[in-house]
Symmetry: C2
Subunit: 135 residues, 2 copies
């Protein structure tokens, strides 16, 4: 039984100052939530001291949205978990704009169901998709 | 660059009443956090009305812990994201105890780095591990 879809996003080569700026991530989240018609029901934001990064978690009536940043490595990661079908958000285009990201990778995972490798006739081409395709 | 490890856990065949009981999930989270020596820095809990499930999000100084439940399908899903190396938590044993889960599956993903399928000599046995091994 599939109960939701989760996107894991890795953005590399980002502007370290943007990765310390909570207002940038609040704006990214507002865009994700607005563009996909999601509904926020609570949040936690935390900025680590000094040159540290930040964490944002938003509970949605459709599941959750999370980010963690690592300014020391110019990396941000995101999770978007939706229990209802949603279109793809243009992560690459938007994170290049908001974070000056050099590389953005998106993997999609179906939640609730887990297909064991041995349970399917092994077709090598099909495996990346089963384990979360690459956009 | 790997910045963290994320575990995705799917528990099926759970007791639907437990999946509506926030105190059960708070206790599970307390156990995860205590057993792994993690530190909570903020949380959001939400119970959906009537026979609905619940959502729990806890920000950790080491990243985050999340759960969503689907009593109508007897399913709970969890995410544990840690930016520092941690031992494996015994999800299967504990979710059988706390939720009467019939099946528990755990997949592990490295965050920050994303290995493209074409980038590695294809050894079929290695693929499940690369895309998040099965416990």
């Amino acid at each position: 039984m599939i109960v939701g879809t989760e996107w894991m996003i890795e953005a590399e080569g980002c502007d370290p100052d943007a990765l310390r700026d909570e207002s940038v991530f609040r704006l990214i989240f507002e865009n994700v939530i607005g563009d996909l018609g999601l509904n926020a029901i609570g949040s936690v934001w935390h900025k680590f001291p000094g040159h540290g990064g930040l964490t944002g978690l938003v509970a949605l009536s459709e599941s959750h949205l999370a980010c963690h940043t690592y300014p020391e490595f110019s990396i941000a990661t995101f999770n978007l978990y939706c229990c209802r079908e949603r279109p793809e958000w243009p992560w690459e285009q938007n994170l290049r704009k908001f974070l000056s990201a050099a590389t953005v990778r998106v993997a999609r995972h179906e939640r609730g169901a887990y297909v064991l490798p041995a349970a399917i006739g092994e077709d090598l081409d099909s495996i990346p998709a089963r384990f979360g395709g690459v956009n």
